[in-house]
């Protein structure tokens, strides 16, 4: 049997909004990512200067030293707009929820070797504060950066950072209890092993240039921290005591792999724009890398003991290769 579905065919009058047709040509139907992103931010005839920053317009590319002829050259390879972003994260959280439930129901945290459990708490719980700093920084870049293509992914990133801080809190509550969170915070604010990292985070909280801040946070700090903790430490802990904690970190592992695509694409685009940009990026990356490496060295030792230095060296050399691949010569 054949079902003949007939609908009225109406010729379209135009394929897209004019600001998009200006970029893609009038005959191209834009994707939803393009519609949701291109030129969405206001860019002319602002009425008043911010009382909190009278030297700049509300949206002002000169807040950064990085110069782009067109800030919409940036493209998120994930093509995230709100719907695709939340749907992707909902899937990830479903997996994470199942993992947490699995560990909880089977009492796997209780049977996790006590020494390994303590090590996991010592290393992971203070990191909720690092994620929290990342959340503030990405919120900042979203607010003060220029152009939706660059800023919209930053609010996604900021909320991801918050989600990660909350997942780390759950790890603390599952392996320990509310006190474990207090202890982690005490270590974060006063234990010597965390102080260089805390200084790094606090110093980024006052960076005014949104692109510099973005580099210091998303490329450099996370680019070194995530491989160190979620690959090296995760592997060592699993080897020592089994994969229970590893299961509880899956969100971060998947998230870092996914968001790195966006980070790399952004660096590549900025560097390819001009030799001046590439030099500026190299300067920022070099500066923050040296500081982050110094800040993470004691954490590597806490997490991996004698193997910490070698792990750090490996993470660093992979980071250097990654940056080089993005077109920045350090």
């Amino acid at each position: 049997m054949q079902i003949d579905l007939r609908t009225v065919t109406i010729p379209v009058q135009r394929h897209s909004f004019t600001h998009i047709a200006d970029r893609l040509g009038p005959d191209k139907t834009p994707t939803r990512y393009q519609e949701a992103t291109l030129d969405v931010q206001a860019n002319a005839n602002f009425h008043y200067r911010p009382t909190w920053d009278p030297d700049h317009e509300i949206f002002d590319p000169t807040r950064s030293k990085l110069v782009m002829k067109d800030w919409y050259t940036f493209k998120d390879p994930r093509q995230y707009y709100y719907a695709t972003y939340t749907i992707a994260r909902a899937r990830m959280q479903e997996t994470a929820e199942a993992d947490f439930e699995f560990v909880e129901k089977r009492g796997l945290a209780e049977s996790f070797a006590p020494a390994a459990k303590q090590k996991a708490l010592d290393v992971l719980v203070p990191l909720r504060h690092v994620a929290w700093g990342a959340n503030m920084n990405n919120s900042s870049v979203c607010a003060y950066g220029y152009g939706t293509a660059f800023t919209a992914p930053c609010i996604f990133q900021a909320m991801d950072n918050l989600g990660i801080a909350q997942y780390l809190s759950r790890v603390g509550l599952l392996l320990g209890d509310a006190e474990a969170l207090d202890e982690g915070k005490a270590a974060w604010t006063s234990a010597p092993v965390w102080q260089e990292l805390r200084r790094y985070v606090e110093d980024t909280l006052v960076v005014q240039d949104p692109v510099e801040l973005w580099v210091a946070q998303n490329l450099v700090l996370d680019g070194l921290l995530y491989p160190l903790v979620y690959e090296k430490f995760d592997a060592a802990l699993t080897a020592e005591a089994g994969p229970t904690v590893s299961m509880l970190l899956r969100f971060q592992v998947d998230w870092f792999a996914e968001t790195s695509k966006w980070v790399d694409a952004t660096v590549k685009t900025a560097a390819a724009e001009s030799p001046e940009n590439a030099a500026l990026l190299a300067e920022w990356i070099g500066h923050y890398r040296d500081r982050a490496v110094a800040a993470l060295a004691p954490v590597a030792e806490l997490a991996l003991g004698a193997d910490g230095a070698a792990a750090m060296a490996d993470v660093q050399s992979r980071f250097a290769a990654r940056v080089a691949k993005c077109g920045v010569a350090l």
Partner: protein, 521 residues
Amino acid sequence: MTMTSEPTPAAKKKLGLKERYALMTRGLDWETTYQPMEKVFPYATYEGIKIHDWDAWQDPFRLTMDAYWKYQAEKEQKLYAIMDAFAQNNGHLGLTDARYLNSLKLFLTGVSPLEYMAHRGFAHVGRAMPGVGARVACQMQSLDELRHAQTQIHSMSNYNKLYDGFHSWRHMHDRVWYLSVPKSFFDDAITAGPFEFMIAIGFSFEYVLTNLLFVPFISGAAYNGDMGAMAFGFSAQSDESRHMTLGLEAIKFMLEQDPDNLPIVQRWIDKWFWRGYRVLTLVAMMLDYMLPKKVMSWKEAWEIYAEENGGALFADLARYGIRPPLGWQQACDDKEHLSHQAWSTFYQYQGAAPFHTWVPSPEDMAWEAEKYPNTFDQYYRPRFEYWAEQEAAGTRFNNATLPQLCQVCQIPMLFTEPGDPTRICYRESEYDGETYHTCSDGCQAIFDHEPEKYVQAWLPVHQIYQGHCFGPDADPTSPDFNPLLEVIKWYRMDVGTDNAPYEGSRDQENFQAWKAMQTKN
């Protein structure tokens, strides 16, 4: 609430919602020492608001990110399924009438860019507030507002493919005369300090006024067969309850923290109530004139959502010493006039607006008279009937003189004196040797308090007269130079289609032709 940290043996107690949220969120913050807190939060004190204890902030909704993603993804999946189905099935042909589309044009060009501004504004405040509970709530709202901007763009994109007036919303929002009304409203809020922003948008707009924008508009969309707009509207509004609650918490928190905050907050309420109310002029006219099937009158909407609901709110806030905003009574009195005066203005300036206008039909006028027994027949019917005659005679009234704009709300001087609907209201202030004009006592008070801010306004009519609103190919020395036509081109309006009267417009013709295709062979 203090968090309990009793040692938990083998079987862990399941944490309640409040406890769990507090542990997962509130403890994330710490006092910085490598950088002073004043440098980490540089915008926290300059407005004069005193906060002593950020821990006293009550989180109204306790959504952790995992729950947020889960529920929001569910909403998005539903919404885009409806949007796609609506487009595939030519849902637009189920509209009552193509006149309805003009309210969507007004919405997309006027409101959607504001959703985007709210997104950026809440990212800013979500970074600037020193308290963690407030910051998280603001950031979540920032993300929601991006959602609203993007879902609206996607919904309207379908209409843009078929109908006029939608195509250049982005360009127009930064330039067109009446769009500077909503634009300057949000520019005003985002350039204020973070606490004022919370009162402006979180409280005055979201709590006091947003129901007036969304609920009647979206009910109206449903009533007129627009399932697409209904879907994005109600779906957006489901986030709004969180936003309203944030606004209410913000004001209570400020008032509870220090008695010195009261006069500052009261002044912001006065200002932002009036500023928001003026923007809603566009909504009043949408409800009373632009919906072919009318869901409720502006007056009725005002009575339910402002007088009744806002009345309850201000009665509740009285315990802090807050009184209803200064312009409240005038706004209540003006409910009888607002939509009629606004629609009359847009009718006259049809040539400069990218949506269609029309004289209300005799049936529509009967509805107006029934809904506005005290004013319509007396003050407004004669005007519309006169214009109907003019149209019938082939001499439609088009006003070719640019209107004077209010320095604050930027609406043309169209509002009448309190208590006298036959006289236009004008107010004047002096600042730095210049005279500035405002449309009302409310706008004048706003100007007088912060003249250094409002003199910066990019007033579209001033800009036109200063010659800033012509394209590069316009030649003012040419003998047949038509300045208004050049401005319209610079607005990127398609002359003769976007800005045509509804009768005889391409939208009207196409809609009828396509409907005929659907129902005839």
